[in-house]
């Protein structure tokens, strides 16, 4: 702001010019106004006139110039000019204050626009600190952000030689700690005399800090410092820094949330890719679990509820012409369940016995040895070409024979207790009969109104083909993996 001078007061465009001219004409046309160097500004001094006096025109203790002329007129002119200069000075000070506020409004608006455009904590910190530096006098500054994982303060932006002033502006600053502890900004206008700075090496004279608060949480702080010995921060400076801090905090919080969302999306995408790969592997494994079975008509349907299922089935011929079929369900979902299914199918492929009780007992020991968490239910049947069958069940849904539930002996699921035995039942599959093995996804299908498919409907349902059984359950409301295997003697063998 340019200082008030007599020249500026007497300028034609000045609001005071007309008043001064009228006054000078009225009091005495011979009054002359000169500046502090004696340069005439209004009228011409006449040397040697007796009775002329030189009256100083003062503003706040400093002389702006003189009114020269007859004593009474010169004193009147000097008095009015001093008064007008004082009013002009007050007006200019007020205008300067208003212009400063205008600047603040616009810089804060600019900061808001900048912050809205960045989704990176460091960029937000840089913008906020840059704007703070424009609005508040400082030789040094820093923004520290609390790391979400460790809770430690980490430098995010700085200017001046912040590294040299790390004791006061860095993560270990005692002022930073107290500002965060109280969640309130602070002014320290004589750092050297503050007890918290005892023993710290610093050249900063004054310091101002504001917490970065998002909601009820501190996300960091912003600090400015000055090494000038005449620097004193004011409450107005702190309000301004708090305003910047509030905007920056919200933007940093958003940036952090955005980063977390991106990370989560990445993890989900990676998990989805893994699931897809597991699904492909599982489909291949299940396809290979169905070997050619001469003498038998075998149909299977496998409908996982998600990318990978926890159900499995295995069908293999034995050297004596009979077949072994296993349908099961591992507890749990997703990749863990898929891995267990893969392991079970591998164990079944390596199994040398064709006896259902032995197969389940062997599988139980494999699962126990693996230390797998969870359990697995399974039903295993061996059918000879004559139709004689032997069946053992480890906690699985009982099979259905021509629409009737086959009673099996109760036993624990696999993988819970070592060295379990699984007693078997025997029967005969007549040429017209069909044995249906299925998973609980069929009877636990749930309609939109919450109704379960239930056991009551199974006798009639199991008279249908494997595909019809699975489709019916799926339409009713699939909630879990659905597996259906139907076994009957081949027509050629029946002849």
């Amino acid at each position: 702001m340019a200082p008030v001078t007599l020249k500026s007061l007497l300028r034609p465009a000045s609001s005071s010019a007309a008043v001064i001219n009228t006054l000078l004409m009225a009091v005495h046309p011979g009054v002359c106004i000169v500046d502090s160097q004696g340069k005439p500004l209004q009228g011409k001094p006449v040397e040697g006139l007796s009775g002329d006096v030189r009256v100083p025109i003062d503003l706040e203790g400093a002389s702006l110039g003189y009114a020269i002329g007859p004593a009474e007129s010169a004193r009147a002119a000097a008095s009015v000019l001093a008064h007008l200069a004082a009013r002009e000075s007050e007006g200019r000070a007020l205008a300067a204050e208003v212009l400063h506020l205008y600047r603040e409004v616009h810089l804060i608006e600019q900061l808001s626009e900048q912050l809205a455009a960045v989704l990176n904590s460091s960029a937000v910190a840089e913008s906020a600190l840059g704007q703070a530096q424009r609005l508040i006098a400082a030789t040094h500054g820093s923004v520290l952000i609390l790391a979400r994982d460790s809770g430690e303060l980490e430098p995010a932006a700085a200017f001046g030689d912040a590294a040299q002033e790390a004791d006061l502006l860095g993560p270990g600053s005692p002022f930073a700690a107290s500002v965060l502890e109280r969640s309130m900004g602070e002014i320290v206008n004589n750092c050297a005399e503050d007890p918290r700075a005892l023993g710290l090496a610093c050249s900063l004279h004054a310091l101002i800090c504001a917490p970065l608060r998002a909601g009820q949480r501190n996300v960091g702080l912003i600090a400015l410092g000055s090494s000038h010995s005449n620097m004193s921060y004011t409450a107005g400076d702190l309000k301004l820094l708090n305003t910047i801090a509030l905007q920056a905090a919200a933007a940093i919080e958003n940036a952090m949330l955005c980063a977390e969302m991106v990370e989560t999306a990445r993890e989900r995408a990676a998990y989805a890719a893994e699931l897809q790969a597991a699904s492909t592997v599982q489909q291949l494994l299940l396809q290979s679990a169905w070997q050619a079975t001469p003498g038998f008509e075998v149909n299977s349907v496998y409908m996982p509820a998600s990318e990978v299922g926890g159900d499995f089935f295995f069908i293999a011929p034995t050297p004596d012409g009979s077949i072994t079929a296993v349908v099961g369900d591992v507890s749990g979902k997703g990749l863990t369940a898929a891995m267990r299914v893969a392991m079970i199918l591998g164990a079944l492929r390596r199994e040398t016995s064709s006896d259902p009780s032995d197969i389940l007992a062997g599988l139980n020991n494999v699962l126990i040895a693996q230390g797998q968490l969870g359990f697995t239910t399974a039903c295993c049947v061996r059918i000879a070409l004559s139709g004689d069958y032997k069946l053992a069940n480890a906690g699985h849904v009982s099979p259905y024979l021509s629409g009737c539930e086959v009673s099996t002996l109760p036993a624990l699921p696999l993988g819970l207790v070592p060295d379990q035995t699984y007693d078997s039942v025997e029967g005969n599959l007549s040429p017209s009969a069909c044995l249906v093995l299925l998973s609980d996804g069929v009877l636990e299908a749930r309609a939109p109104d919450g109704e379960l498919y239930g056991f009551e409907r199974l006798p009639a349902l199991t008279l249908l083909s494997a595909q019809q059984i699975a489709d019916t359950a799926q339409r009713f409301g699939q909630e879990d993996d659905i597996t259906v295997v139907t076994l009957r003697l081949a027509r050629a063998m029946q002849m």
Binding site: L99, Y102, R103, H106
Partner: protein
């Protein structure tokens, strides 16, 4: 060489003072700052002084800023005079109107002092201080 001139037109004295005080650093570069308090006075000053740049308020007695701008750009043959409408009216309709009457720029109050002085320097071809 003809001195460069800026005319500030606003019927509110405190706003004239604020703009004047913002631009007073240009006086060191020999720029003369003139003022007018209404539209008619503005047109008289523009005819007489041919300022290089006019900061023109919109809502004024006697003749509003849109009319003054239209007259300068289309009737007085002084389209070379750079006119910046400086107004509290911020509606798109008003911006459009300012464009139609030939204003070179439309700035809103409260104005950004730094943008105002930068624009004045740019129009007058004056370097930024310290440049």
């Amino acid at each position: 060489m003809k001195p460069m001139k800026i005319l500030i037109v606003d019927d509110e004295a405190h706003l004239r003072t604020l703009i004047q005080q913002t631009l007073e650093e240009l006086e060191d570069d020999g720029v003369e700052i003139l003022t007018a308090t209404n539209g008619e006075e503005a047109l008289e000053t523009i005819r007489a002084e041919e300022p290089n740049l006019v900061f023109l308020d919109v809502m004024m007695p006697k003749k509003n800023g849109f009319d003054v701008c239209h007259a300068v750009k289309n009737e007085l043959g002084m389209s070379h005079i750079h006119i910046i409408l400086l107004t509290a009216k911020g509606q798109e309709f008003d911006r459009q109107r300012g464009h139609e009457v030939g204003a070179d720029l439309y700035m809103t109050k409260p104005f950004d002092p730094d943008a105002l002085i930068a624009k004045a320097r740019s129009v007058l071809g004056l370097p930024a201080p310290g440049a």
